[in-house]
Amino acid sequence: MSESTTDELTVDIWRGGEQGEFRRYTVPARASQTVLDVVTHVQRYLDQTLSYRFACRVGMCGSCAMTVNGRPRWTCRTHVDKVAKDGRITIAPLRNLPVIKDLAVDMAPFFDKWTKAEARFLPTDPDSPEFARVSPDSRERQEANAGIECIGCGVCYAACDVVAWNPDYLGPAALNRAWTLVNDARDADPARHLAAVAGDAGCHSCHSQQSCTEHCPKQLNPAASIAGLKRATAKAMLRGEI
């Protein structure tokens, strides 16, 4: 094993599917290099069979999340300086999702749960020519704003231990989305969202460990959204609304 130097990185990358192994690559270190740059270098210059997923490279699309040195991260905005230990990085696919090949996971179970959580906007009156008037200062709008910037990268889902032990659990991202809709004054049927996220596979399974909040690259707080859903579903049931 070479001594760590400032001009090269020792990178272990997961190769294979669910069964596989880490393979070691040596990559030149550069200034302001991101983990995605490292993976791209390996794929372009060292091993063209490496599979991974990315699109925008600027932290908008949510497609490049991977496990970097044991933590789920968005690789396009993760600088090597921040994560490399003695010039070494280990890169694996996201946890809690089926591995397709190498660093690419199947995101279908993740997005299927958004559907199960009824995490889509239900318009009040699609034909109305009127603008909805929503006060930016209202508590509901501020709650919605706090969670609205999710890019669907799956980092919170990979970080969540409840997802790991209860495969039916909807997960932080889908629940966070549901919470933004419950607080959207324009949404036609908040009860529909609440009924979909209550119970064993929904918000009530959350242990408030806040791993989602700790790891979210957009600094959102899905744990707070889930706590809000717990209160709102209990209130709605006691009032007979769901």
Binding site: E118, A191, A195, A198, G199, G202, A234, L238, I242
Partner: protein, 123 residues
């Protein structure tokens, strides 16, 4: 998550949500009771503790009877719901049989607890 119809809870989900409400509700009830319980322990052990001293305080006291009666019921429900959650998360045991086991556990705790309360308040 099998909602009967959109916007309505299924029977099973409603049941789960009620258990959640019961557990949070009993926690709310127990918080002040635990504080009083601990404060009385600290006060009561000053200068030694004897069965006679305890019974002198509790015997015939409706207040302490009600206090610990409520405490026992709240703790029993809270423990049974929590234990059921822990078992279903850590083991494959789920469903109706686990529900009955947890219910039995709650009943045993309530019976034993209320017996103890009756013993120190009555007689």
């Amino acid at each position: 998550m099998s909602a009967v119809s959109a916007g309505r809870l299924s029977g099973r989900t409603r049941h789960e949500l009620w258990l959640y409400v019961v557990q949070r509700g009993t926690a709310l009830v127990m918080a002040p009771l635990v504080v009083v319980h601990l404060a009385v322990i600290v006060y009561a052990v000053q200068g030694g503790l004897s069965a006679g001293e305890i019974l002198g305080r509790t015997r015939g006291s409706l207040l302490w009877g009600a206090f610990y009666g409520v405490f026992v019921v709240a703790a029993s429900l809270h423990a049974a719901v929590g234990l059921r959650n822990i078992v279903s998360e850590l083991t494959p045991w789920r469903g109706r049989s686990l529900m009955w086991a947890a219910t039995l556990f709650a009943v045993v705790l309530i019976v034993l607890g209320l017996r103890a309360v009756a013993a120190v308040v009555g007689g």
